[in-house]
Symmetry: C2
Subunit: 539 residues, 2 copies
């Protein structure tokens, strides 16, 4: 029997903008159906609240500090085992429809004599994905510079210009026919000037349905990776008119937050998107469009599910729904992402396993701490393989799908940001190697530590679930901080670079040396006889 | 003008077994001559007190935790920039005579489609060294399994057998002509059954002289890497009779050390070599041979220096003399290495720069903390390049050669051991991922921390220069330990995996996004105008 994985990832989807995660207005029946029949993880955290590093972590099963791609556009180091390296040996194809944000390590390839255009070079350049249809948005991925098929599709459909992605799918039209870019929040309450079926989400969906239809009978993992609801926040009709300012909740923020901020959080307020969303009324323009984009994704997923059923693959397909990070939208006086409040670092995660083994957990919610790096080991596990935990730093989530009493896989969740390429670095006057932040969250306390001796940020989510009070610099926090710091130290001291000597191959070195004739630590023949385990090749 | 580097490394040479480092008996005039004309570093520490990880660090300029080769035989991960990657682009050949302990990452090569036998594959397999004559001792390197030329040389010279390295160069003969292996300490007071000129050190020396003679006029870095005075401690005449038990100092140990030991140090006592050297009189057999081996190296270096002069290359050649780690020889009740007392972790380091720029420092001693990972950046610097500090974690030592007032390059030295493949792991009952030890030494206090919550080891070298009293579990040590722990945390939190985005290429990401048409954080056109640095490609 073939085994399939439909790995759906949205870009910038907050954890709380789905029906099944409690949004008061937005209804997402198709995604909710997955939750009703699978397991919803209510404490899923991303390895980095930022597209590129998060995705590289998800696709390698390793923390940003381990794979080294710490920022958008930072190439994934040559030699890192990628998504295909783990799944292809299990006879599972790994295909992509949509976004990865992957940037290849061209310097590394040159050093190793690998032609980026060779079959091996292309596979490495795409993180082990076979490109069914890569769509990273406005610009092709740096390095590869392959144009997206979507641009051609739009041109063929009559949407003219060099950048139809921007000029049609992500722009509106003014009263006099002038182009109004969707990048500007000012224009987010206008509909995109494109037929709904030609916009990004339906396009990527149709391409993924093509894949599903053509590959029935094979084992595959399809990464259906929607570029939305990421900026530009603009959506065509009917979604553009579906939600309005009346559907926009009050921002989660108060004045005390800004007055009380230390340098680490304070520097975040200097970001352009933060300053912008601190203004009144912007949310009323952006959030309704954002909700429309999510609703559109939900509708399109209905098409995908139908295709799985129509092609007889529904019963063989693990369906995974998640996001790469959230969006602040002015909550906590911040915009976009890149910090560690729940709005940014927590994501929706639903796994629907159609097999009978998962019947005991259907419709349940799992409250354990899980991370984006858990997905790849889960996929290997589902595909029937043994996750390579010498390289993979997460844990398979399959036990949670099969056993309502499965044990926690970790005591604390980790997420990282290196802000050396942001204005926060300049603002704080830090050298580029002192811009690392690590979040440690134990389910109650969440700390953000810096490697620049800046005071930590700390939230107590039990007493302050909305994270409105940073208690990181309060004397009463010393014990909580010490505990989280000990977790951080444990995590920091772990191997993040191993992978060449599997744990299973580790042996007693003294004995193995003996086997090849290196006899260290013996006075004489009698010593060898007195050493029970030692082999003596010279006798 | 060509620039050359003669990079001499001994294997297992203690810091205090040279004339210039104060040995009371052993005279090493050739090595001392380097110190008299160059700079001797009296506080040089290895990245790991163990051959393989130390060497991989020296050859990559990175800590073991960064390159991932944590133990002997642990392959150097594919993609790590190696010795040649840093020096070859400067038109400097990198050649090897002797030992590297390099194990190639064959799995990684297979994954990337690199044939280990192709020119690129061979270069990667040898860490960027061109093999003039690799000699790793009794067995060819795992993986490559290339036989050493030395075996052929011995056979041609009439030393018969499959393993003439062992049977002649590293064995003695009994009264009845029976073979007595040099691996056994019992036999270390006997001479090796080989003509002195055919033993390892003269062989490797002659091969290096060939290189020096044939390549005069080119720029080269020759790694003259003696496999001695590493075990087997056996040397031919006249060196075998040169030193005797009367030249062996009392061991640096006392009973209190064993009584007072915590688990981390206590587990080391369980090692075979430790138990063996705890016995009486073994030192009297091994150490005189060890001294003979060192004396032989010193004599052979005289030949090399003559060759440099004879070929007119003396004035163009930076000469570096060091070791990969020391040897306990029963000091502190330990044998071999793998822990962090000065006997194991401190090495001799002398740099002789023949150019006029170094005249101000000739014959001086530098007391600053330096590390084995400083060598590669020093070589790049000497060769006229800009050390790539995105990858290299050490610091060029050239300032110390040119300026008597050069500033320290670090506040603390780091060394690491992962003992998951040793009996200490079994003895302590630890999982293999909890066997990491890191030494932090600030010039006075030296701590060894574990990632298994074992109490740290601490020595105060100001009040206890012989490191006979572990004060790691004493209440009065809290402040010193906290300071060293803060250093460890800073070091642990640093990037150890980056290298794909050079610091010089790091830019303000918000602006760079704008340049490619990603306009995040703008409400309208006015916002763009109000943002001084932003580029606006759509206008």
């Amino acid at each position: 029997m073939p085994k399939n994985i439909l790995f759906v990832m949205c870009d910038q989807l907050r954890h709380d903008y789905l029906g099944c995660t409690g949004h008061p207005v937005l209804k997402t029946p198709n995604i909710d159906m997955l939750a009703e029949n699978g397991v919803r993880f209510s404490n899923a955290y991303v390895p980095a609240p930022l597209c590129g590093p998060c995705r590289m972590s998800v696709y390698t099963g390793r923390y940003p500090r381990s794979h080294g791609s710490y920022w958008n556009g930072s190439p994934l180091r040559i030699g890192e085992m990628n998504f295909g390296d783990h799944l292809n040996p299990l006879k599972m194809r790994t295909a992509l429809c949509g976004k990865t944000h992957m940037t290849p390590d061209l310097d590394g390839m040159a050093r190793l004599g690998i032609d980026p255009c060779s079959p091996a070079g292309q596979r490495i350049s795409e993180c082990g994905f076979e490109l069914w249809d890569r769509l990273d948005g406005v610009y092709p991925a740096k390095g590869t510079r392959r144009p997206s098929h979507y641009f051609e599709y739009l041109n063929e459909k009559g949407y003219k210009g060099d950048n139809p992605w921007h000029d049609w799918a992500n722009s509106a039209e003014g009263a006099d026919g002038e182009l109004k870019t969707g990048w500007f929040i000012e224009n987010n309450d206008l509909p995109a000037r494109i037929a709904e079926e030609d916009s990004e989400t339906p396009y990527t969906t149709s391409r993924s349905i093509e894949f599903i239809e053509k590959n029935a009978g094979d084992s595959w993992c399809l990464h259906l990776s929607y570029i939305k609801p990421h900026w530009p926040y603009i959506v065509p009709e009917p979604y553009a008119s579906m939600y309005g300012p009346e559907d926009v909740p009050e921002p989660n923020r108060n004045e005390r937050e800004r007055e009380n901020s230390g340098p680490l959080l304070g520097a975040q307020y200097e970001k352009r998107s933060a300053k912008m969303f601190a203004r009144e009324k912007l949310r009323d323009k952006a959030i309704p469009a954002y909700m429309g984009l999510i609703k559109q994704i939900d509708d399109q997923l209905g098409r995908v599910f139908e295709a799985l059923k129509d092609t007889g693959q529904w019963e063989d397909t693990l369906i995974v729904f998640t996001s790469d990070h959230g969006d602040y939208f002015g909550d906590h006086w911040l915009g976009d992402k890149e910090f560690f409040h729940e709005e940014a670092v927590k994501v929706p995660l639903i796994l629907f396993d159609p097999t009978a083994a998962a019947d005991a957990t259907r419709g349940s919610v799992c409250y354990e701490l899980v991370e984006g790096i858990d997905l790849l080991p889960t996929f290997v596990d589902f595909a029937g393989g043994e996750p390579n935990y010498d390289v993979l730093e997460g844990h398979s989530l399959m036990p949670f799908l099969h056993d309502p009493k499965a044990q926690p896989v970790r005591d604390y969740a980790i997420s990282e940001v290196d802000f050396s390429e942001t204005y926060a670095c300049t603002h704080l006057g830090l050298p580029v190697d002192k811009c690392r932040m690590v979040m440690v969250f134990d389910g109650r306390f969440k700390a953000v530590f810096s490697n620049a001796n800046l005071p930590p940020v700390l939230f107590d989510l039990e007493n302050d679930p909305k994270e409105l009070r940073d208690i990181g610099r309060e004397a009463s926090s010393i014990a909580a901080l010490a505990k989280l710091r000990a977790h951080l130290d444990e995590w920091s001291m772990a191997h993040h670079t191993s992978g060449t000597t599997p744990i299973s191959r580790r042996i007693d070195y003294e004995d193995s040396e003996c086997e090849i004739g290196v006899l260290i630590g013996f006075y004489d023949e009698q010593d060898v006889k007195d050493t029970p385990k030692a082999v003596h090749p010279l006798s």
